[in-house]
Each structure stands twice: as structure tokens, then as C-alpha cells.
């Protein structure tokens, strides 16, 4: 969902989450489903989820805010995650991240002005053997150097 899309209605949210209500521990699958549909977990979901699951609004908020992967805002068309865990840091991930953000002129969690890409930190993609690692829209990329990063950025149209 793009930045200027209208906020989802209660009916839309219900139609996304109610098919999952019979699962055991349905809240996380519901949040994933919402993020899959909208690209983030809209704030409007909180009271709806609270009602569907008969939980407090605060509890829903507590779960969403616990997981960094659940976003509170719409992203750009693509999401680039740069690993900042130990192995990648030891292989120069910090410098890579700094130069990437500088190139794009944004900070962590920000989206480029043209709405093409959002950059997020991630703590370990399980790619330590190929550090430094990154992930573009769910596809992992290993041994990312400046050149490879430039290719990624060109690919996502940043």
C-alpha cells in the first residue's frame, strides 16, 4: 500500500483477519496477514483486533510494538533491510549502511522522496557466512559491497 492510500476501513480489516480466527494463537498470523496486505499494520487495526480476539487494545499494541518487523507506517514500493548484527558488522556492514543512507539522503526507517525504497535495519538474516548481508523485498543478498548495493538501489529505482 502506498503512502497516500486511504486508511483501511473496519470491514476491510475484518475481512483480512477473521479467516484466521480459528488458529491457535491467532494474533501473530493476523498481524502478518495485515502487513502482507497493507505493507504495514495500520493503527486502525488495533481496536478491530482487540474486538475480534477479545483482548485489550493495550495488549494488541504491546505485541505490535514488541516486534520491530511490524511497521506502524506505510513503506516505499520496496523495502531494503541491511543487517547490523555482529558478523555483518565485523565485515563492514556499518560503513556499508552509512554510505547507503548517505547516498539516498535518508535515515533509518525513512523512505526516499520518490517513494521507491524504505531502508530498515535488521538484526541477523542468518547469512553470517556471506556477511555483510541485506534483504530486498524478502530476497536475501550476500556479500554486499558498495557496487552490489548500487546495483540493488538501481534495481529498486532509488
Amino acid at each position: 500500500m502506498h503512502v497516500n492510500a486511504p486508511a483501511p476501513t473496519e470491514e476491510e480489516i475484518r475481512s483480512v483477519v477473521t479467516p484466521l480466527a480459528s488458529l491457535e494463537g491467532p494474533l501473530l498470523p493476523m498481524l502478518h496477514a495485515l502487513q502482507d496486505v497493507y505493507g504495514y499494520v495500520p493503527q486502525e487495526c488495533v481496536p478491530v483486533l482487540a474486538d475480534v480476539l477479545n483482548l485489550g487494545r493495550a495488549e494488541i499494541h504491546g505485541v505490535i510494538s514488541f516486534y520491530h518487523d511490524f511497521r506502524a507506517h506505510p513503506t516505499g514500493r520496496h523495502v531494503l533491510k541491511i543487517c547490523r548484527a555482529e558478523a555483518c558488522q565485523s565485515m563492514g556492514a556499518n560503513a556499508l549502511a552509512e554510505s547507503t543512507l548517505q547516498k539516498l539522503g535518508i535515515g533509518w526507517h525513512d523512505t526516499t522522496a520518490n517513494g521507491a525504497v524504505t531502508v530498515e535495519p535488521v538484526y541477523c538474516l542468518g547469512m553470517c557466512a556471506c556477511a555483510p548481508a541485506a534483504m530486498v523485498d524478502g530476497r536475501v543478498v550476500g556479500r554486499v559491497d558498495d557496487a552490489r548495493m548500487d546495483r540493488i538501489l538501481a534495481e529498486v529505482g532509488a
Binding site: A58, E59, G62
Partner: protein
């Protein structure tokens, strides 16, 4: 053994033992060399505390399950590796625990160092200074230095500094002061989660959470954009009580400082009767903290009891007696002597002119037992008639009648602890989350453990569905069809053979049961047959009846939705029948429990406030009972029952009843058909109002005697579980006299010769004359904390459960419950049914709570209307609407909600500017005259302002409240 350690702590010791008590087989272990025996399942922390050894802790509290997050309570256990947390480690036989060692000291110091590294060091100016567990623990572990500092280039890497030079701390979250009673200061938070757990486990509201994770973790009320006031928070204060630091802090403590002494007393709001520690500096009340050994509330409270005590200091409170010749005149402040002789002369004059029976009293369900006893004694011994009644007339008088006829006593059968063993709860016509919040919290805790819930209510109350609570069956009956619904449940139980024959054969009258079976098996009582009347789907009703009959321990809790009907007494009888049919009487976890409205409505009934009953529910026509009092009081007692409140008002309009002493009740606002009440009061020649404020009734009064609050007097209250709790004086009465003293002064001005110097003497008189109170003394209450009547030679320590081996009346009596529709019917002019109730933030007529910050939650009465009915009438959310019935009309704002079914509207009666009782009618219970508040046929239409009546009323009220101060 542990006994030689324990006496260090006095009885009533309310130390925090760290984790909840358990019951189980005894287990013996050694803590620091001391042997201690505790029940299986107890934590090492609690075992140590019982041995007198307090292990340092931050995240543990004995009203919460252990959490194991602070790591301060680590101990060493011989034969075990590592240092387990004592709060989460259960004891085992022969365990050898060490709570102190070099290693433990270093670890604890390290933990504290980390906590303090992100905590401001402003202890001296902190509101919790001297009352801070973090401070205590820093002392206990010997913290002398904090090595951890924010890195130089990121000096703001903490949660408490607002800024450093030009740098602004993005982690700093400012104080949330939205709640009128407490503040939330995230800068002081150590994220121990005690508040979140208290909100969930104790209160059951689930309004708080921990937002984020790791270093970003913060306590949060509600979700993004919420503060405490807009979240689901009900301001019960459990989080404030749980907070070990100043993060959640009462505003009163911030303003007044930490209290230095405390007095244990009893809350004067609802019938739950919570015990509180009133914490004071001198006579300045600083805060109210629920008392953990209070047997009704077990350390919990609601927003009213904990916070809404400010009315005692409100500027509207009247502190000087006032009189006037007519109600057209302004009030004149006079001395006590002048006011009392004025009142006495008028009353005597009336009695001379119109006869002995032309005056009467209304006792208060908010005053103490002793005060109530004196007021009824005043009319019986001094006025010489039985014209006494109480506000129970308008609430639970059908309970008295119905349970009296079937079981032999007019009181609930259980104590509140019983709810912890219930398997199926049926709530009929009660809204415990608003009306009896502390009981509701205890009930919700049990429901979360798996107990089943049936709710019978026209409205979808919060208990039907709220976080983690879901009623199995909600039977949304049409107002006024209780009897049909309850009888249909009995029909299902009888015709499907679900009744408990053994119980009925041994405990009840078998012939009456046969007769009842013939009546109730009739197909006209089947759920299918009554569905048309009640609107309850037959399948749901059948399923609910089966669940009640077969689900294990089944208890019924009911409220005014049962009693305030033309067939209130019949419904109570129907409920009693259900419990007898299924054998759900006489053990923990079952029973029939009226949820009493006011703090001492049980007590005021016990104390002989009714016109036909002397104290202890003994009819005034019985010569042997009269003889007891004639001897004790040295006077003759009229054998004829006196007038009930509605009869007094009728007689006043007819001109035969002329004088009334009304203590602590606002009949003009709380009684039905306000026009009629006003006419009755206006026709009297001497109305004496004894109250804290110039209430609505005082608009028609000639004498105003200022009253004292529950903080200003000694006495006892009796709560809904028959528990006699002590009320203790924490400050001198601002008006000069405790209420019982005022009644005594009035009696003596009328010529009596009373010489009570302390309420304990009144209780001695009650005990001497009333069999069910025979064993009650102030000494016993001091020793036990509280007792439940009957308390006499056979039950010297009181009676938590009634009817254990047999009913008080011998055999239980089944009575037929024929449904008779109320005369109040909907028709073309008045097509909707109005039902009334109350809301969490307010109490009764609101005289007290409206004068506190509780108005933040409920500033006015609103009319709940189904969106369907609203659309038909062109009514939008928040519109002014006119609410009219055959009796009168008023205006208020509407809110659209599907909590009420189409055809039903709902409002509260807390605000005199609305006067919901203008529209209620004078229909009443056939047996007891309890008014039919819960059913009124009404019409709702758009409006653009107050009705003529409201304007006239307000003008009259304003005029009659003028006060001329005493000439200097």
C-alpha cells in the same frame, strides 16, 4: 519452627510477602538456618518472608503471580546449580536456602547498579521519598556507587534527562497527568511490569501494556495516541498501589507528602464494603489504600473508594445547622441548640395537632448500624409510632421478602470469597463492573480461570464481553419479564429432570415441591411459550438452564434489575427456587447473592428500619419481641406497623402526615415519580434533612442538620455478605457532631433521656436485644477484623456461609411464581421501554461523587438508544432528546449504541439536572412497594433544550438553597 519468628510482626501485619499464598500439603525447609513449614506450591520468597526474612525484590508483590524479571531476589539453594530467583522457585521438602552470601550480594548490587543507571537521582524532591521500594532496595543491597554512565558522545542515552545543552532527549517521555487522581511519570519507571500485571490480574481491565522491547520498553496505557484517561483504564488505582517507585503516584501524595499514620476503616460507597487504610498526616487525609486483610476486597478497590473522597472537603458541604419557617424563605444559619429546639417544637406541635402518627423518619443506608438503630429507636420510643422506612424500600426490599419466605433470612447466603470456588455464575439484573467493581474484579479473575457465565440483562453490560471474559449465554430479556424468564429456566430444569432430588428431599418441603413441579411443568412456562413475551431465544434459555443445573458449583448474583419491578419479590422467589432445585445452597461456590446497592443497606434493614419490623427482622406485632424493647427502652411500642415511604408521601398529600426526619437520603432524587415526591414533601410542615449537602430533598426542608462523613465517625457498616465491618474515626467531624450524636440531641430535645457516649454502647444494646447480633462486640471486631452475622452462642465467630446443614426456616420453601405483566405497558404514545442503572464513576444520586473529580468520566447522564430507534426518530449521537413518560418528561443527551436492544432505552440517575426519576412511574412491587424503576414506557424525540419542568425545578432549587449567614 516458624512460630518463634512470627510474633515479631503484630496481627494485621501487612508486609508484602512477595508471592500469593498457596494451599497444599505442608513442606518443611530451612531458610538461613531457620526451619519453616509452608504449604506446597509456596515460593521460596514467601517461605522466607514467613520465617521473617525479607529477600530483596522489585518485581514481586503478593497480590500478583511471580514474574521473575528483576533478578534481585536470587538465592542459593544447596544442591542446586546457579542462583535461582526465589519468587519463581517453589519450595521442596528439606530444601536448604541461603539468602545471603558474598556472591548474592555482588549480584544484587550489580542488578541495582543497572537499575539506578537509568533512574534519576532526585530522591529528596521525589514524591515517593521514604515510600519507594527502589530506594529501599538500593539501601538493602548496599549500593554505594553507579559505574555505568552514558557514553560521552551520547550523554542523553537515558529515559530521565529532558535535555543536555542544546540536545533534546528523544527517549524522554513527559509526565501523563490526564487522570485526575494520579500521574504517570515514565522517567522514573523501572519497567518491573507490576502495574501491567496488577491491571490484568487484580483488576482485570487489561488497559496497560509494555510497549517496545529492550531499552525501549515503556509502560503504556492503551495504544498509540492514548493517555490514561482515553485508554480503557477505569482508574481503580491497582497500578498506583503496585508501583514500587514514584512512576505511578497519587496526586494527593505529590501535593501533601507521604502519610505518617494510618487507620483501618470501611468504604462508604457500594455494598461490597471494602476495607481501607486511611493514610494521614495529622488529621489531613493523604490517601486511601485498600487493606489487604479486608475480607470483602482482599486488597483491591475501585475509583470511588480509593480516590473519590474529596466531597468531604467540598465547598458545598454544609457545616452549620440551618432553619427556616417556610420553604419559600432563605435558610438561616443558627446554633445547634436553636435548630434542635426549633425542630423538636415543630414535631411536638405537629403530633399534638395531627396525632402521634403524623410524623416519621427515614433511616439512611449510608450511615452506620448504630446511627440507623438510633433513628428507628427515635420514632418507636420517642415519637411513639412505627413510621420508619429506609432507602432499601426502593432497592432490595423484595430481597428481604423473597429470601425471607423461602429460606428464612433476608440476606445473601455466601461470603465474597465464595466466588473463588464457583464454576457457573448467573448474573441477573446486575451490572457488577459498574455497580460493584471490586466484586466484579474478583469474579472476572475466576472467569479467566475457566468458570462459565450466564448474564440475564436487557442490556449488554461490560461483563457480557470484555477482554478475556465472554459470557457463555447472554439472555437479553425485555424489561419486566424476569419472572417469565426465571420460571422458564425452572421449567427446563424440572421437565428435563436436572433437579437435585436428594437435596430437595432432605432440605426442602417435599409437598410444596410437588405442588411447585405441577405448576412449573405446565407447557405455558416452557422457553418456547414465553419467547414471545421475553424476547429470549428458547434455545439459549434452555442451554443456560442446563448449564446452571449441571455445570458444577453454580451461584446466582443479582441486583436491582431483579427487585425494582412490580414483580420484584416474585423474581427473588424464583431465583431462590432455582438454587433449591439444583441443590446450590449451603457450601462454598454456590448460593443466592443479592448485590446490595449502598454501603449499609444490609445493616439498615437489619437494624429495624422497616415499619413492620423491629431489629433482626422480627415483626412488630409479636408481643414477646416488643417486650424486649419495651423493657430495654422503658416505653411502650405501637403494635401496628407504620408507614412505608410511598405511604408517607401519600398521607402527606392527603394531609395526615406532616413531619419527617430524613437522615442521609435524597428521596426527591432517588425515589420514583419526582412530581409526587415533591408534592408530598411540600405538603409537610416540618421536614428535617440531616445530610452533608443541601440535597434535592432539602429544597423542601425546614430544618437542615449538617451530617458527618464516614471518615469522621465511629461505628459499623454491614455489607452485602452480612459482614459487620468497623468504621473508624480518622478525623474530627467538621460539622461538630457525629451523626448518632445529632440523632441523640434531637431525641433529647424531644424529651428523651439518652446518654450514649460512644457507638460501642449502642452496639451493646443491639447485641443485647437482637439474637443474630448477640455475639457482636467492638472487642470481637477489633480482634477478628470483621464478622458475618448471625454471630451468637451457636456461631461465636460469625457465619460466612448460611444454610449449611439446614435452612434457617427449617425446610426450604418452594413457592409458585406466576408471571403477571406489569401495568406499565408500551403503546402508540410511549413505544419504548426505559430501564435505569448506574455507572462506575458515580454512586447513587451522585451527591458525593459529583463533588469529586469523578465527573471527568461521567459529567452528565446520557440516554442509551439503539441506532435503529434513533434513526426512526432522526436522533444523532450527542443530540439533546426529550424523554417523556406518562409521569413526566425531561431532556438529556442521547448516545447511540447496540448495547440496548431496539425498543429499549437506558439511562442513569446520578445527576439532578436530568432527574431521570421524573419519568419513572409510581408502580411498585406487589409485596414490598419497591418501585418499578426498571420499566417505564417512554417516548424519545429530538429536543433543543431543557423542559419547562427542568427550568422551573432548577429555579425553585436555586431559590430554596439561598442561605443568610448568621448576623454578626
Amino acid at each position: 519452627m516458624r512460630d518463634f519468628i512470627i510474633p515479631q510482626y503484630p496481627p494485621g501485619d501487612d508486609r508484602d510477602m512477595g508471592t500469593p499464598a498457596r494451599s497444599g500439603a505442608p513442606v518443611t525447609l530451612t531458610v538461613d538456618g531457620f526451619p519453616v513449614t509452608v504449604p506446597e506450591g509456596t515460593s521460596v520468597m514467601r517461605a522466607a518472608a514467613l520465617a521473617g526474612i525479607m529477600v530483596p525484590k522489585l518485581c514481586a508483590s503478593d497480590n500478583l503471580e511471580a514474574f521473575g524479571s528483576c533478578r534481585l531476589c536470587v538465592v542459593e539453594i544447596e544442591g542446586r546449580r546457579g542462583t535461582p530467583a526465589s519468587c519463581t522457585t517453589p519450595v521442596t521438602e528439606g530444601m536448604v536456602v541461603h539468602t545471603q552470601s558474598d556472591k548474592l550480594r555482588r549480584m544484587r548490587k550489580g542488578v541495582m547498579e543497572l537499575y539506578i543507571s537509568d533512574h534519576p537521582l532526585d530522591c529528596l524532591t521525589c514524591a515517593a521519598n521514604g515510600d519507594c521500594e527502589l530506594q529501599d532496595m538500593a539501601g538493602a543491597v548496599g549500593l554505594r556507587d553507579v559505574r555505568y554512565k552514558a557514553p560521552e558522545e551520547r550523554s542523553l542515552l537515558n529515559h530521565f534527562a529532558t535535555r543536555d545543552g542544546a540536545g533534546i532527549n528523544a527517549l524522554y517521555v513527559p509526565k501523563d497527568e490526564s487522570n485526575p487522581y494520579f500521574t504517570y511519570d515514565p522517567a522514573k519507571c523501572i519497567v518491573c511490569s507490576r502495574c501491567v500485571r496488577a491491571c490484568e490480574e487484580v483488576q482485570g481491565t487489561f488497559a496497560l501494556t509494555i510497549e517496545g522491547r529492550g531499552f525501549d520498553s515503556r509502560v503504556k496505557a492503551g495504544t498509540i495516541g492514548d493517555d490514561f484517561l482515553t485508554s480503557d483504564c477505569v482508574s481503580c488505582g491497582a497500578c498506583v498501589q503496585a508501583c514500587p517507585t514514584a512512576t505511578l503516584q497519587e496526586k494527593s501524595v505529590i501535593e501533601l507528602g507521604t502519610p505518617e499514620r494510618s487507620v483501618i476503616t470501611t468504604c462508604a460507597y457500594c455494598g461490597v464494603g471494602c476495607s481501607f487504610k486511611a493514610e494521614l498526616n495529622g488529621d489531613q487525609l493523604v490517601r486511601m489504600v485498600p487493606y489487604k486483610h479486608g475480607k470483602a476486597n482482599r486488597g483491591h478497590s475501585c475509583v470511588k473508594g480509593r480516590f473519590a473522597y474529596g466531597y468531604a472537603q467540598h465547598k458545598d458541604r454544609i457545616l452549620h445547622p440551618m432553619i427556616r419557617d417556610t420553604i419559600e424563605e432563605p435558610w438561616r444559619e443558627v446554633s445547634w441548640d436553636e435548630a434542635l429546639s426549633f425542630a423538636a417544637n415543630r414535631l411536638k406541635g405537629i403530633q399534638q395537632k395531627y396525632g402521634r402518627k403524623s410524623v416519621g423518619v427515614i433511616t439512611s443506608s449510608r450511615c452506620t448500624n448504630e446511627e440507623t438503630y438510633l433513628v428507628q429507636k427515635l420514632t418507636r420510643a420517642v415519637f411513639g409510632n412505627n413510621n420508619t422506612d429506609t432507602c432499601a424500600r426502593v432497592c432490595h426490599s423484595p430481597t428481604g421478602y423473597g429470601l425471607g419466605k423461602t429460606y428464612g433470612t433476608s440476606a445473601g447466603t455466601q461470603d465474597f470469597d465464595s466466588v473463588e470456588q464457583v464454576d457457573v455464575v448467573m448474573i441477573i439484573g446486575a451490572n457488577p463492573t459498574d455497580g460493584h467493581p471490586v466484586f466484579a474484579s474478583r469474579l472476572k479473575k475466576r472467569l479467566r480461570q475457566g468458570a462459565k457465565l450466564i448474564v440475564v440483562d436487557p442490556r449488554r453490560t461490560d461483563i457480557v464481553r470484555s477482554p478475556h471474559i465472554q459470557a457463555q449465554y447472554h439472555l437479553p430479556l425485555k424489561p419486566g419479564t424476569n419472572v417469565a424468564t426465571v420460571t422458564a429456566m425452572a421449567h427446563v430444569i424440572v421437565t428435563e429432570g436436572l433437579f437435585d432430588e436428594d437435596f430437595i428431599r432432605t432440605r426442602c418441603d417435599w409437598d410444596e415441591f410437588q405442588f411447585y413441579v405441577d405448576f412449573v411443568s405446565d407447557p405455558r412456562h416452557s422457553p418456547e411459550a414465553v419467547e414471545m413475551l421475553t424476547g429470549v431465544p428458547a434455545a439459549d434459555l434452555r442451554a443456560a438452564a442446563r448449564l446452571y443445573a449441571t455445570g458444577g458449583n453454580a451461584a446466582i448474583y443479582y441486583g436491582l434489575g431483579v427487585t425494582e419491578h412490580s414483580q420484584g419479590s416474585t423474581t427473588v422467589i424464583g431465583i431462590a427456587n432455582l438454587a433449591m432445585l439444583t441443590g446450590n445452597i449451603g457450601r462454598p461456590g454456590v448460593g443466592v447473592n443479592p448485590l446490595r446497592g449502598q454501603n449499609n443497606v444490609q445493616g439498615s434493614c437489619d437494624m429495624g428500619s422497616f415499619p413492620h419490623e423491629l431489629p433482626g427482622y422480627r415483626h412488630v406485632k409479636l408481643p414477646d419481641v416488643r417486650a424486649i424493647y419495651e423493657q430495654a427502652w422503658g416505653c411502650e411500642i405501637d403494635p401496628e406497623p407504620g408507614l412505608r415511604i410511598p405511604n408517607m408521601l401519600d398521607a402527606a398529600v392527603e394531609g395526615t402526615f406532616k413531619g419527617l426526619y430524613c437522615q442521609g437520603e435524597d428521596i426527591l432524587q432517588s425515589d420514583p415519580d419526582t412530581h409526587h415526591v415533591a408534592a408530598g414533601l411540600a405538603a409537610m410542615e416540618c421536614v428535617i434533612v440531616h445530610d452533608l449537602f443541601l440535597n434535592e430533598t432539602a429544597n423542601y426542608a425546614h430544618v437542615f442538620l449538617p451530617g458527618s462523613t464516614f471518615l469522621e465517625k465511629d461505628g459499623t457498616f454491614t455489607n452485602a455478605e452480612r459482614r459487620i465491618n468497623r468504621v473508624r474515626k480518622v478525623m474530627a467531624p467538621r460539622n461538630g457532631y457525629e451523626d448518632w450524636e445529632v440523632t441523640q440531641l434531637l431525641a433529647n430535645a424531644m424529651g428523651a433521656d439518652w446518654h450514649y457516649t460512644h457507638p460501642r454502647q449502642i452496639m451493646e444494646e443491639i447485641a443485647a436485644t437482637t439474637p443474630s447480633f448477640a455475639g457482636v462486640t467492638y472487642e470481637l471486631l477489633e480482634e477478628k477484623g470483621s464478622v458475618q452475622w448471625p454471630c451468637n452462642a451457636t456461631a461465636p465467630e460469625g457465619t460466612p456461609l448460611m444454610h449449611i446443614d439446614g435452612f434457617v426456616s427449617g425446610k426450604g420453601h418452594f413457592m409458585v411464581t406466576e408471571y403477571v405483566a406489569t401495568d406499565e405497558r408500551t403503546g402508540p404514545r410511549f413505544p419504548l421501554l426505559l430501564t435505569t442503572g448506574r455507572i462506575l464513576a458515580h454512586y447513587n444520586v451522585g451527591a458525593q461523587t459529583r463533588r469529586t473529580e469523578n465527573v471527568a468520566w461521567h459529567p452528565e447522564d446520557v440516554l442509551e438508544i439503539n441506532p435503529h430507534d434513533a434513526e426512526q426518530r432522526g436522533i444523532n449521537e450527542g443530540d439533546w432528546v426529550r424523554l417523556a413518560s406518562r409521569a413526566g418528561e425531561t431532556t438529556l443527551r442521547a448516545t447511540l449504541t447496540d448495547r440496548v436492544a431496539a425498543g429499549v432505552v437506558y439511562t442513569t440517575f446520578h445527576h439532578p439536572s436530568t432527574q431521570a426519576n421524573v419519568v419513572t412511574t409510581d408502580f411498585s412491587d406487589w409485596a414490598t412497594n419497591c418501585p418499578e424503576f426498571k420499566v417505564t414506557a417512554v417516548q424519545v424525540s429530538p429536543s433543543n433544550g431543557p423542559t419547562d419542568w427542568q427550568e422551573r425545578y432548577n429555579e425553585q432549587a436555586e431559590r430554596s438553597r439561598r442561605i443568610l449567614t448568621a448576623a454578626e
